[in-house]
Symmetry: C2
């Protein structure tokens, strides 16, 4: 392009970096790969949603889901962030949505090089309330499937009253980046002979044996999709 | 107090609720109990730190630790949030620091009542850089001990150069609340006879077998504090 500053066209395989998604530190850990971003998002149940209220930041944990290149968050129509998003014609609410998985504790010989292995995705954008009934239903199904894949087909869908009580907000995957730290310890060469144990303690999420509700209808068996968690 | 609006005095056992820490929804899940707040904070390694940059929210995962009624977060002196905090005499940076543990997937018969069992703490306040060398050392030790308790005594402390490259910011535990969802499914009475499995899938963090660095000094054994994770 020889010096012209045309915006990078959207790519099928990667998000376009922006000022906000290029980190000032550990830039080698940043990635814009769509597949990686999707896999990190799909593995989680709870995101941390940040927004600004009265000039100050607020960060709340909340359920989310991904449908293609859109994220959805839901909540009561009375909850604070959802009331701030307004309808489709409103300017929306500036948000930052972050999902993080901790994969390991990195114990270096030096205190300075202690770290965490992790995978995170940070999404910047403007959240807007979903007003289209079809999109809202799709998002609510996906939210249930983000709790356990396959679950939306095995539960009673929301009725009119429940739909009216639930607000869903949408955030497009556009300004987004992943950050990943993986691997072992990086100690200084002069510390390698120190007598301290060094290495990585793997961390993972473990799903336990499902605990049935005491009032299950007779004959209700554990569904297959819970056996594979 | 008969109608006077004196502020509630600080309590030894509970934080004082504020406009920001009283939720608009599910208020019965909120708690200001110090012991509960401390236990949730002490169990985590990574928080989600929110701040405002150019009017928009930013939420970043980062290591944190608790020392009494103070939280500390560290990072490179070049990182964005740390550069924004300035020194002790600066006005500081308004932040919201949130720690969340997911304890279970709550599968109701109705899509609407699907939920997550969780414990979270949300701290609002102003973060300031720590300039006192003694407090900085204490905080850095605590950060290493938040990765694994007991670890700071078994690693090489930061040297002068590392101390200079590391910024530590402090956030007082003052405007803080916990929120906890626990227990089973809450379905509507008319849904109880539906043929859908309902119950809770427990979720917990599992620490795997520690993976030693290949270059451990000869004779270095696995320390006791790693055997109890």
């Amino acid at each position: 392009m020889q010096g012209t500053r045309q915006p990078t066209p959207p790519s099928a395989t990667a998000y376009t970096p922006s000022d906000r998604t290029v980190p000032t530190r550990s830039a080698q850990r940043a990635s814009y790969d769509r597949e990686l971003v999707h896999s990190i998002l799909d593995e989680g149940h709870v995101c941390h949603l940040g927004f600004v209220r009265d000039g100050a930041p607020v960060v709340l944990p909340t359920l989310y889901c991904r449908v293609g290149e859109r994220l959805y968050v839901h909540g009561s129509t009375g909850s604070r962030p959802l009331r701030m998003t307004g309808g489709e014609t409103d300017p929306g609410l500036a948000v930052c949505l972050t999902v993080t998985h901790v994969d390991g504790l990195v114990l270096a010989r030096s205190a300075f090089h202690h770290s965490i292995n992790y995978r995170s995705v940070v999404v910047h954008g403007v959240a807007r309330q979903v007003t289209d009934p079809e999109e809202k239903r799709t998002a609510l199904d996906a939210l249930v499937d983000q709790v356990v894949a396959g679950r939306s087909r095995d539960s009673r869908p929301a009725d009119k009253k429940e739909l009216a009580a639930t607000a869903v907000i949408r955030l497009d995957l556009d300004e987004v980046s992943a950050k990943v730290r993986t691997g072992g310890v990086s100690d200084e060469p002069e510390d390698l002979s120190l007598p301290h144990w060094a290495g990585v303690v793997p961390v993972r999420v473990q799903y336990g044996t499902p605990l049935p509700d005491p009032g299950l209808a007779p004959g209700t068996e554990l569904p297959d999709y819970l056996g594979t968690l």
